[in-house]
Amino acid sequence: MKESTRTRLGCREFLRYSSVAVVAGFLTVGAATTTLAAEESINFNGWSAAVDLVESHITAFEKKTGIEVKYGNLPWAQYRDAMVTKFVGKAPLDVMWVSDAWLPEWAEAGWIQPVDQFKELTKYNSDVDKFCTDSMTYKGQQYGLTYYTDYMGFFYNEEMLKKAGIAKPPETWAEVVEQSLKIKQAGLSEYPLMLAMANESWLIEFLSAMVFSQGGVFTDDAGNAIMQDPKKGAVEALKWVVEAVQRQKIVSPATVETGELAGLKSFAAGNHAFALEPKYRLRMLNDPKQSQVAGKVKQILMPKGPNGSHATVGWMRFYGVSKHALENPERAKNVVKFVEWFGGKAEGEYRFQKFLLTDIGAGFCTRPLFDDPDIRASYAKYAKIDIIAEQQRLARKKDVITPWFGEWNEFNGAMWQSAILDQISPEEALKKSADKWQTLKREQ
């Protein structure tokens, strides 16, 4: 048969082609193999921020000390999850960036180690804001060296206030309402105040800033929940937000879907008169290439509530050191050198911290830098350094940072959102949140 002849002829041909294809496939795989880094190098992980600066500082470190560094960076949003996986999977990590919010859980899990025995690291504490040192201390032990801090700032759009005939920016939360209503009536902005209340890692910073400036707290000194307390707790702050959304309509009901970034962009689009934003965003907001309100955004102290102050919340990030890094004394020595180079001084100056500010506007804990002429010149381009320094002095550590923070935070965020959406009352939301806190505290 014709058919079968064709078939048989093709048999050998096909076998040849298919074997070539298989070999080619394996070659591709083989070519992709890369060699692993040498065991002696320091394994350093961070999230993908200021990557170029970090790399340049590593280049200088390697040149100076001859110690090799393997630097990996991961997206911030998934950084913690990836690190958890790597710790559980016993990956050889030495040094890593750690957020203040994770300190208790990472310390309890035994992933990061105290560094109190290294005097070449702790000697820098005298130059550092107390709030920063507190933020990397857990159960009396210090877990690393800080390199960056910032806080929640209160910004306003100067031009919009002028147009509405407002001479002086608000001092109190009551004035924020008053001025917002005026701006709304003048048709300058539908929702004059930008609050970003979406469920994300920023949420607790926004909530804490609102609560602290209203004179409240989430927990007392013994670590028990008093957020549900109508006077000392968080009730006043939440009520204010609910009123602003539901009744005064000065905050968009979309606030529960607006993340920090979306809120920032919306403020940069000129949609709002006031905004709570991380201080370092001031730089972007006044950059004409990125913002439509460049040159008009000013910072003032956080407005205060009737019983509150201009307090705000601050956060910080630090270099943590793993168990693996300290197991071998030789490696420990190298790791300490590395941490000092980044979190302390490099060749006699706070070089990394300084570049972080002049390159991208990220703040520092090391107070002497406020007097550095380069820093003053850099800030002067888009902000007033005195306000920045003054507000930083009023920044407070979050009072909910515990081993069960992650779990409570998830629940608490949902409760605040429910209240803002008018599904439950502010009192009930915080009551539930407080109960959750106490349950988790007991379990631990």
Partner: protein, 305 residues
């Protein structure tokens, strides 16, 4: 029984065995090796962990608790509400995907100028990397400067910007829409491939019988598409149930748990709460339900299984 082919080198041993079974075993060997080597250990490990009360922040207290984790999660109210949300998300998505896929496949099955172009652009949604896709939809849905509000306002369909993801009523359908957009290309291709395998004779015969377009569609096309539907239902159901990325990027379970679906619940339990025991137990419950669904779909639509 088909006649035996020439004996090859390995054929010497084959004499003792059933040749058919041996051939099948040979053909299945590579895939079995891959799956046993790579997939079986993680699945077993996951079940093993689900029997411990493992909380990473309490590394020195990890008791073996039998099925306590399962009892614990099944009595959790949030588990049931999240399961319900996953159910509605899956039904919404799979229905929409199937209908759109059939319509698109019918269109691409016709011969007309430009259909190759359509087929190529159809791949675009599928090809956008997950993160860029999620951020794109976040941008489109944004209530204060988003493209959706912008477009609807310019078209005169709304007179004021609408709150999208922030409205708990709209959150799930909107996420489902983004999910469908990305999944439709594969589903259409699977249906189209099946459609191509319907013998043209069937249509010719039906035409001679005087069947109109609709009758031909109902009596020939749809029944012949059964294998395609089986693929699409199984694959898309599995994808919808376990879908995570868009929830992570768009809402993180919010607002106020409006998009707290089962996959998000598992993530929160495992990584936010660092409770690996209950997290893995949840995953196993989801796996069993998914498997049961797949089994049901194969039994109903599979021809020869």
């Amino acid at each position: 029984m088909p006649p035996r082919p020439r004996l090859r080198l390995s054929g010497v041993i084959s004499g003792k065995f059933d040749f058919e079974a041996r051939a099948a075993a040979l053909f299945l060997l590579p895939v079995t090796v891959v799956l046993v080597a790579v997939a079986v250990f993680p699945i077993g490990y996951s079940f093993y962990i689900s029997l411990f009360q493992l909380k990473l922040t309490r590394p020195h207290r990890v008791p073996f608790v039998w099925l306590d984790n399962y009892a614990k999660i099944l009595t959790d109210e949030l588990f049931w509400s999240s399961a319900w949300r996953t159910f509605s998300f899956t039904v919404m998505s799979v229905t929409a995907i199937s209908i759109l896929a059939v319509l698109i496949a019918l269109l691409l099955n016709e011969t007309f100028r430009g259909r190759r172009f359509l087929a190529i652009i159809l791949v675009a949604p599928w090809a956008i990397p997950t993160v860029a896709n999620g951020l794109m939809w976040k941008w489109i849905y944004d209530s204060s400067f988003g493209a959706l509000n912008g477009a609807l306002l310019q078209l005169g369909m709304i007179d004021k910007y609408v709150v999208w993801l922030g409205d708990p009523e709209k959150t799930l359908p909107l996420i489902a829409n983004a999910f469908v957009w990305k999944e439709v290309p594969l589903a259409s291709i699977l249906i189209l491939v099946t459609m191509k395998s319907i013998p043209a004779d069937l249509y010719r015969a039906a035409k001679v019988d005087g069947a109109n377009v609709l009758q031909r569609f109902i009596h020939i096309t749809l029944p012949s598409l059964r294998p395609g539907f089986m693929l699409v239902f199984i694959y898309e159901t599995m994808m919808a149930i376990r879908h995570f990325d868009l929830f992570f990027i768009l809402t993180e379970g919010g607002p106020a748990q409006a998009s707290h679906v089962a996959s998000w619940h598992i993530y929160v339990e495992t990584f936010r709460n660092l409770s690996f025991g209950t997290g893995n137990a949840l995953a196993y419950v989801m796996a069993i339900v998914t498997f049961a669904l797949a089994y049901f779909i194969i039994r109903t639509l599979g021809r020869r299984l």
